[in-house]
């Protein structure tokens, strides 16, 4: 893991937040599967954590259900690196059994928590491959000028 690499604005996202709670609480919300289930997926859908093996090469698998009974696969990822209490990195470029993935949205996420005077400084860096998923989206009408109109509307909404 090389956390010092510059993000690519075309492909990567950075979410930064100061959360008004101690770092240990934020870590526990991530690292305890029973906690993660409470916020990982938007309600009313239900989340079930199958694996959350916080060690390099560990499996990270979740399922979701819209009715609370019938669960479907949600995330099948591989843990890349863990720094206890501070950092979790995982990728969907390999599934939890290390099989390389090509379908769907392939990403690598690096979650970092550090102490902050008001609680915890929380950062999620999400990196995407220059993937078919992205190209597909772009082919569906973003070359013909609609993109500009929608961006302008986006500025109004944002």
């Amino acid at each position: 893991m090389n956390p010092d690499r510059e993000p690519d604005p075309e492909l990567d996202l950075t979410i930064s937040r100061v959360i008004a709670a101690p770092r240990q609480n934020v870590w526990d919300a991530w690292a305890d599967p029973r906690n993660l289930e409470q916020w990982w997926i938007p309600a009313p859908a239900k989340c079930r954590v199958l694996d959350l093996e916080l060690t390099p090469g560990g499996a990270f698998r979740t399922e979701m259900s819209t009715d609370g009974e019938d669960f479907q696969p949600h995330l099948d990822a591989c843990i890349l690196g863990v720094e206890d209490g501070r950092r979790i990195a995982f990728t969907t470029g390999l599934n939890g059994a290390w099989r390389p993935t090509v379908d769907g949205l392939v990403m690598t996420a690096v979650i970092t928590m550090s102490d902050h005077p008001e609680g915890t400084s929380y950062e999620a860096i999400v990196m995407h491959a220059n993937s078919a998923e992205r190209d597909r989206h772009d082919k569906l009408g973003f070359e013909d000028g609609w993109g500009t109109a929608i961006r302008q509307l986006g500025e109004l909404v944002g």
């Binding site: 609480n25 916020w39 938007p42 509307l153």
Partner: protein, 116 residues
């Protein structure tokens, strides 16, 4: 499987774009971007009979730009943030997913703290 998903996705986007091809509907979306509003408030700036205006509202609703809810005699319209993100672009839709995920984490952690 992938192809049928693509077709569905493409259809959704076509409906979104078609809905934007009219100044009245764009005006309605711009107004709703500042918050929900009733149909009569939305109609006020436009010199148009209410039935004609309602056609625009229905088209926006069918395309997924807005949702409407009727309470008594007032129909309130609101913009649909998920569809908006979808139309905005691939990376923006992922940003929304992660921002909302972080919102939920933040809520979970701070509400838990209050209980302790």
């Amino acid at each position: 499987m992938i192809l049928s998903l693509m077709a569905e996705y493409s259809q959704n986007l076509n409906a979104l774009f078609q809905a934007l091809g009219d100044p009245t509907r764009r005006g309605v979306i711009a107004r709703l971007s500042r918050g929900p509003a009733s149909v009569s408030d939305l109609a006020a700036p436009f010199e148009m009979a209410l039935p004609s205006f309602m056609k625009h509202i229905r088209q926006l609703e069918q395309s997924g730009w807005i949702s409407t809810r009727k309470t008594g005699r007032v129909r309130t319209c609101a913009i649909d943030a998920d569809r908006f993100a979808e139309a905005q672009g691939w990376l923006e839709s992922q940003r929304l997913v992660w921002e909302q995920r972080t919102d939920r984490l933040e809520r979970f952690v701070t509400e838990n703290k209050e209980k302790q």
